[in-house]
């Protein structure tokens, strides 16, 4: 009997558990929307606690920004509109992925530049070592003859 009761109690817990897994605190229509919200709040930076995104931060301003993101999503705004709205107020600073423009081009191009410089260096080293190999043999004809003689001597012994 007690076992039955326990089983029933456990069974009652099951759906609650399942719901908790799908819980979306803010209340989104679909999982895609919720994912979009998570992505957006993860790539927006909190101006108050500067090394956190607004999804992570507990600062009141991060909460306000999350609310704004949510509200604009409910109003059917696109990702660009939402990010633009916040950049207009808090500056380019709030974007972890700044727009490519004249000020940020160096930032974006640095990885490519670093790889390019590395490739050039490697190419330089290879070309130089090739050229060295192609150059006149390291021994002069005389030296080579002597080497041959010495080796031949050795063979005889």
């Amino acid at each position: 009997m007690t076992r039955l009761v326990v089983l029933i109690l456990l069974a009652m817990l099951l759906p609650v558990q399942a719901n908790a897994d799908e819980a979306n605190v803010e209340g989104f229509d679909s999982l895609q929307e919720e994912q979009r919200y998570r992505d957006l709040t993860a790539e927006l930076r909190c101006p108050k606690c500067q090394n956190q995104n607004i999804a992570d931060s507990n600062a009141p301003i991060a909460k306000d920004m999350r609310d704004r993101v949510y509200q604009m999503m409910q109003d059917g705004a696109s990702n660009n509109e939402i990010v633009g709205d916040l950049v207009d107020r808090f500056g380019e600073f709030v974007r972890y992925k700044p727009e490519v423009d004249r000020r940020t081009i160096l930032l974006w191009a640095t990885p490519a530049i670093a790889v390019g410089v590395g490739l050039l260096a490697v190419a330089g080293i290879i070309i130089r070592s090739r050229r060295r190999n192609d150059q006149t043999p390291s021994l002069t004809a005389e030296e080579q003859a002597r080497v041959n003689r010495l080796l031949a001597d050795k063979d005889r012994e």
Partner: protein
């Protein structure tokens, strides 16, 4: 030719040193407002002292003003309060208050008890104007020119040093421009 390459590490270290040295003493939490050069966002909010009386961006027209964001919940606002009184009373600076995410009773008690440096105080309990201004931490102080355009933002406490070094030059510049 080879010798030249020996200097590469030295050059790298020197360049890195210059870059890092330039960063010393810079406050990374100091952000330039995104609103510099733009007009104060439109708003229609209550006057703190006169419930029901709406204030709008028109309050900035005609005079160079400081817009000071404060709240009774903000300890640093208490720190700068005496300096704001000094600015308003001794220096003749026009200060508009923005009571940010606060409640009216407590704010009025605060002004009663500590003195009121503000010509007007905008009551923004939900922080809507604060959000539009990009306020991320009180206290913040903006310099607004005679056309209602944001010219400068200072985040943190205002004191005599901040006034002399940062705010006064901007205020004076736009006062001259206006006259």
């Amino acid at each position: 030719m080879k010798r030249v390459f020996l200097f590469v590490p030295l050059i790298l270290v020197v360049v890195l040193g210059i870059v890092l040295f330039a960063g010393i003493g810079k406050d990374p939490t100091r952000l330039e407002s995104a609103l510099i050069g733009k007009t104060v966002p439109t708003f229609a909010l209550d006057d703190l002292e006169k419930p029901g009386t709406k204030l709008d961006a028109g309050v900035f027209q005609g005079q160079v003003s400081l817009l000071n964001v404060w709240g009774t919940w903000c300890p640093a606002c208490r720190d700068e309060h005496d300096d704001l009184l000094w600015l308003a009373q001794e220096q003749g600076v026009r200060i508009i208050g923005l009571n940010y995410k606060d409640n009216r009773e407590e704010a009025l008690v605060w002004l009663e008890r500590l003195g009121n440096p503000y010509e007007l105080t905008i009551y923004d309990p939900k922080g809507t104007l604060g959000f539009d201004l990009g306020v991320y931490g009180a206290p913040e102080t903006y310099v607004i020119d005679t056309d209602g355009v944001v010219r400068y933002r200072h985040v943190g406490v205002v004191n005599e040093k901040v006034w002399k070094e940062d705010l006064e030059p901007v205020v004076n510049q736009y006062r001259e421009d206006a006259s």
